[in-house]
Structure formats: C-alpha cells, structure tokens
C-alpha cells in the first residue's frame, strides 16, 4: 500500500458499468516526508474520504475491486482508509 493525499474529484458519465455509484478521487502519492511522489492517480473511494485528507491506497486490482465491493471491476487503485497519524521511529 501507499500513503497519498486526496487532491481532487473526478466526474465521468460514460464509464464501465462496474463504476456506477463509485466515487473517483484524484490522489497524489506521498513520500514518507509528505512530499509528492510521481504523478497523481485515480482511485475509487471505499471509505468516504475527502479532499485534503491523507489516505491509504491499495494499488492492486483484486484488492481494489474488493474495496469497491465489485468483483471483476476493471480497477487498479482504491482508497482503503483515512490516516490519522503516521509515526516513523528513527
């Protein structure tokens, strides 16, 4: 999984039927020091996350489909939790 921040929402009318009712969020993966890492991705939201929240992202199809509650959905990323705190023991 990866830590990411929700940076926006995506609206799509014409999409695969397994996305019906799903919330599509733009998420920016983060480094452990909260700096952005790579390009923003789209993820389905399984937990009711909002813009600016720090979330846990799963980047694997089967897991993302389960988070969406849709077996066989053509998804590869899902938000599976809203992060309260991250502690690095150094």
């Amino acid at each position: 999984m990866q830590i990411a921040r929700v940076i926006g929402t995506v609206v799509s009318t014409q999409k695969h039927r397994k996305f019906e009712g799903a919330k599509l969020m733009l998420v920016q993966p983060l480094n452990i020091d909260d700096t952005p890492r790579g390009t923003a991705l789209l993820a389905v939201d399984g937990v009711g996350a909002g813009v600016d929240e720090k979330v846990l992202l799963v980047l694997e199809g089967r897991a993302a489909g389960e988070a969406l509650g849709q077996k066989g959905a053509p998804v590869d990323a899902a938000i599976i939790g809203i992060i309260d705190t991250v502690t690095i023991d150094d």
Binding site: V6, G8, V11, K15, Q28, L42, E60, P74
Partner: protein, 88 residues
C-alpha cells in the same frame, strides 16, 4: 487508474484472436494539471473513447475485465471518459 488524453489509434490485422473486434488507442498519461506524464502507451477501449478525449485507464490484468468472458492479453484499458475533474 490514471488520467490521459487519447492521441491516436493503432490498427492491426494480424493479432491474437482475443483482440479481434477490440479498439486500440494511444493514450498520453496526464498530470492533474494536464501536463504529459511519461510516454504514451497503447490501451484497449471499452467505453467508446475517441481521439482528443480525456479518459482514465486501468493498468494490469484488470484491463481485460470489460471483455469478459474473453481474456484479451492486454495490460492497459480505458474504462471511463472524463467529464471534468476538480482540484481541491
């Protein structure tokens, strides 16, 4: 999934039999501010996307799911046409 713009298409006559009837498009992945992000790739289309449209695509085996029960040997597929996105 990733945002992208459709910039072209690919036509093949001789191909894997599970690709027959499937449209192949070239997509340029985009950042949230519409800059090109990396190289264009070829993706199958299951939503009727066309050149110039902004779409989102899925990577991996899941790209073949819209064609179930066929299992085309693909690793990227357009699964939605984007109306718009809003940055918080």
């Amino acid at each position: 999934m990733q945002l992208a713009r459709v910039i072209g298409d690919v036509v093949m006559t001789r191909k894997d039999e599970n690709l027959v009837g499937i449209k192949l498009l070239i997509v340029q992945p985009l950042t949230a501010d519409r800059q090109a992000a990396g190289r264009p790739i070829v993706a199958v289309d299951s939503v009727g996307a066309g050149v110039g449209e902004e779409v989102f695509f899925v990577r991996g085996k899941e790209a073949s799911f819209p064609f179930h029960p066929a299992e085309p040997p693909v690793d990227a597929g357009i699964v939605g046409i984007v109306d718009h996105w809003d940055l918080g």
